[in-house]
Amino acid sequence: MTGKTAITLTINGREHAIVVEPRRTLADAIREDCGQTGTHIGCEHGVCGACTVLVDGEPVRSCLMFAVQAAGKQIRTVEGLADGDVLHPMQQAFMDHHGLQCGFCTPGFLMLAVGVLEREPDIKDEDLLDVLSSNLCRCTGYQNIVKAVRAAAKTMRRQ
């Protein structure tokens, strides 16, 4: 397990040259090796979705992907959503609709929702609910998350 590989991770457009063991998860690499701690780890077996990031536009559970598998791909994390001080419509909608309490699951929900809506802007409400039910939140009871994502979907369609 000691053999290490030099790879470059591109996170939010910025390149990070790191040296990792083949078994190192993408989540650990993003957080520990690249210092981007906005991506959270909640279960390490791909159920809770707190670690969701976008890899080449697709929502991915970064605890289930090895860092070496993401080399050369475009990784987007919560740190890349806002444009300076201007929040992404999804972030703004979460604030407006009280879609977060402790905020631990929030980055995963934001990336999941943004990834899905960028790919499928006209997704039906029922399908959206299916997508959102792939992540866990323990504080909000989900209603406000669903409201926020639906509201953001409208804003994103207009833009």
Partner: protein, 756 residues
């Protein structure tokens, strides 16, 4: 001129949100120090046994491994003490930070590995060989007690509470209704696992622990005592906290281990729990069996209740000691008039994960039991389930109502409430009569649909005190320094709202400091839905005092009288007339250190919000699955400082309540091996399982115990969910009293229907 801005009662956006939305949160795992070591805990794979040997040689030989500790290395550290409801009889059952000679549950820490990084630490932990001789296990808390150790049994004590003459009541009664009910083992399970990072500053001789939550001051004092240090030489720091729910922030063995290791090795020590560890090592909750009976008159009026129950506390008594069974015993009567009441709660140790509180502790359980009992009384007497509740409710005119029982060091006195009014309001929202009609039609058409009602009284605002200091800084920023904590519920916003309105500033200019033991000498923390009530009123008092001080100082500067001045949006202005104004910041610079005030709110009694839940469900006769079609919650919180946040608390509580009612359960096999160790086995609700919720937050009964009339809102969303859903399922499958056990899994429900 505009008047002072009102913030109390407004759903202003949260001050907490921006960093959390942009990835700038500072949760425990986000905190690192140069040169830190990682701790990994080696846990018992056996539910009960005697430790024969622990061989760490292979682990120590692994490059990057710095040390391995076993029980002998920490034998000098006393077991973790009780924070609440401590009883002498429970003390021998406290948990040591590493197992001493015996293990008593799968997941008990037996060794700690310290290594250069997480991956190495986990590799090394796998190499530690633990040789344990298995002993017989006890898994049923309601069965015969057994040995805990050579001297003690597994029933340390029985909690007894009573009011009125229960024996005489039951002797005289013509009708007695008896039930045997059980609540399953589940817990808060926040999405952020636990974590603790300790470091020792040799120059200042200060031990720091980061990743603190909930009760930082108590934990600071306790860790200092356990490690033989002065409390001033231990400081705890709370960052962002990924969900509380009772489980988080109590002192656990791992917190003490990182602190002890930081002192010993003079290195920062970081420990972050993984999910499997969380599910077997952090506090479980709720598991109880009740043998309950009610004596009633011919109209279904309750004459007496006898509540004997068995509390499955798991392997050790942790910080909450007897809190959950004590609250169960004390809060069971709920919103009903019960002339004679007796509770006998057997505290039992079993070979499972130790327990603590979980949102609405002792009330989720007792409400399920009481409301099942009310339904059974209704069935016995042959009257409607709503009518039986109406007949037994405590009248508004009886307030304040002394229950004649104690809990958490307080007499239970319901401070205010109009229970019947809230029941009417809730029934109106769901359209109860029309709903009954619709359900009847659908049942005739072959559907298994039904509805249930549950009522409850919550408790909140536990004292005895909270202290707050408010400062105006030279830049005009306002700092509120408190000894409470935030577990993600919106404390900063709510306290800022109260401070801003009282003082006359913008709420966005108020910074609320919490969970930092080096910023304030004492504090009670965040539990028991206490923060808005206790810290809110302390903030109001301190801000009032600061306002007076500021006006006095400004009067001198502005050469006028204080009563001619006002503070509006952070400026000192002449009330009612135009003229020169002075920003608070300028005044703060003119009187250095002068704009600071401190006050304390003390309260000997809790405040009691109350509510009604109504569930309408559809049961799938083939699969046993339950779909909640509609859900109504009416909750009276006295006064909502931020209604949107109150609703958020209620909605979140409902989801957790549904989890405990239908999905979540920590199961064990016959050897005490835990079966619910991942999120694939321990099922929590997702967005799909949550019904459409209609919520009514009322302010009909402000608390007379604080000037704003506040009551806490944290637990009413969860409290009666098991009760309401159980009643709805009975109704749907047409078998009154069918549900006797939570959670109502599809398998259990299918069995009920087959037996029905």
């Amino acid at each position: 001129m505009t008047g002072p801005t009102k913030y109390i009662g407004r759903s202003v956006p949260r001050l907490e949100d921006r960093p959390l939305l942009t990835g700038k949160g500072r949760f425990a795992a986000d905190i690192s120090f140069p040169g830190q070591w990682t701790m990994r805990v080696v846990r018992s794979p056996v539910a009960h046994g005697k430790i024969k040997s622990i061989d760490a040689n292979a682990a120590l030989a692994l490059p990057g491994v710095r040390a391995v500790w076993t029980g002998a290395d920490v034998a000098r550290i006393p077991p973790i003490d009780f924070r609440l409801t401590g009883l002498t009889a429970l003390e021998p059952y406290r948990q040591s930070v590493l197992a001493q000679h015996y293990v008593r549950y799968v997941g008990e820490p037996v060794a700690a590995v310290f290594a250069a990084d997480q991956y190495t630490a986990e590799d090394a932990a796998d190499l530690v060989e633990v040789n344990i001789e298995p002993l017989p296990v006890i898994l049923d808390a309601a069965g015969p007690p057994g040995p805990f150790d050579e001297e003690r049994g597994t029933e340390p004590t029985v909690i007894e509470k009573k009011s009125g003459d229960v024996d005489a009541t039951f002797r005289a009664a013509t009708t007695i209704v008896e039930l045997d009910l059980a609540i399953g083992r589940h817990s808060g399970v926040p999405i952020e696992t636990r974590g603790a990072i300790a470091r020792y500053d040799e120059i200042k001789d200060v031990l720091e622990m980061h990743g603190a939550a909930k009760v930082p001051h108590w934990n600071r004092d306790t860790i200092a005592q356990m490690l033989g240090r002065k409390k001033e030489s231990v400081q705890l720091y709370e960052g962002h906290v990924g969900g509380g729910f009772g489980i988080r922030g109590e002192i656990y063995p791992e917190d003490v281990l990182v602190c002890a290791a930081a002192l010993t090795f003079k290195k920062p020590i970081k420990w972050i729990e993984d999910r499997r560890e969380h599910l077997i090592a952090a506090n479980h909750s709720r598991q109880q069996r009740h043998k309950i009976k009610a004596a009633i008159d011919r109209d279904g009026r309750i004459l007496g209740i006898d509540n004997e129950f068995f509390h499955d506390n798991g392997a050790y008594m942790r910080t909450h000691a007897a809190t959950v069974p004590d609250l169960t015993a004390a809060m069971l009567p709920g919103p009903y008039h019960v002339p004679a009441y007796r509770a006998r709660g057997h505290i039992r140790l079993t070979n499972k994960t130790p327990c603590g509180t979980y949102r609405a502790p002792g009330r989720y359980e007792s409400t399920f039991v009481r409301e099942r009992l009310l339904d059974a009384v209704a069935a016995q007497v042959g009257i409607d389930r709503v009518e039986i509740r109406r007949r037994n409710l405590i009248a508004k005119s009886a307030m304040p109502y002394a229950l004649g029982l104690d809990t958490l060091g307080t007499h239970i006195v319901y401070d205010s409430g109009d229970y019947a009014l809230l029941l009417d309001k809730a029934l109106k929202i769901i359209g109860w009569d029309e709903l009954q009609e619709q359900l009847r039609h659908r049942r005739v058409a072959g559907e298994k649909v039904g509805a249930g009602v549950a009522m409850f009284v919550e408790k909140s605002g536990l004292g005895p005190f909270d202290m707050v200091r408010v400062d105006v800084r030279p830049d005009g920023g306002i700092e509120v320094i408190t000894g409470v904590a935030s577990v993600g519920q919106g404390v900063e916003t709510v306290i800022a709202q109260i401070c801003a309105e009282t003082l006359g500033v913008n709420y966005g200019d108020v910074r609320v400091i919490h969970g930092q033991t080096d910023r304030i000498t004492r504090g009670m923390g965040a539990f028991a839905s206490r923060v808005t009530v206790m810290c809110g009123e302390a903030t109001r008092l301190a801000a009032t005092r600061l306002r007076e001080k500021a006006l006095q100082a400004a009067a001198e500067q502005m050469q006028t009288r204080a009563d001619q001045l006002d503070i509006v949006n952070g400026d000192i202005v002449r009330s009612g007339e135009p003229g020169p104004s002075m920003p608070l910041a300028e005044l703060a610079r003119a009187v250095p250190g002068g704009l600071s005030a401190e006050d304390t709110f003390e309260s000997a009694h809790m405040v009691y919000p109350y509510g009604v839940h109504i569930a309408a469900v559809c049961v799938d006769g083939d699969t046993g699955a339950v779909r909640i079609e509609r859900y109504v919650i009416a909750y009276d919180v006295g006064k909502a400082v931020n209604p949107k946040l109150v609703e958020g608390q209620i909605a979140g509580g409902l989801a957790q309540g549904i989890g405990g009612a239908l999905l979540e359960e920590f199961l064990y096999d016959e050897a005490g091996e835990p079966l619910s160790v991942t999120f694939a086995d321990y099922l929590m609700p997702t967005a799909r399982e949550i019904p459409e919720l209609s919520m009514l937050v009322t302010e009909d009964a402000p608390s007379p115990l604080n000037p704003l009339g506040l009551k806490g809102a944290g637990e009413g969303g969860a409290n009666p969910v098991g009760a309401a859903i159980a009643s709805a399922i009975d109704d749907a499958i047409g078998i009154p009293g069918a549900v006797t056990r939570l959670p109502i899994s599809p398998q259990r429900l299918k069995a009920l229907m087959a037996a029905g």
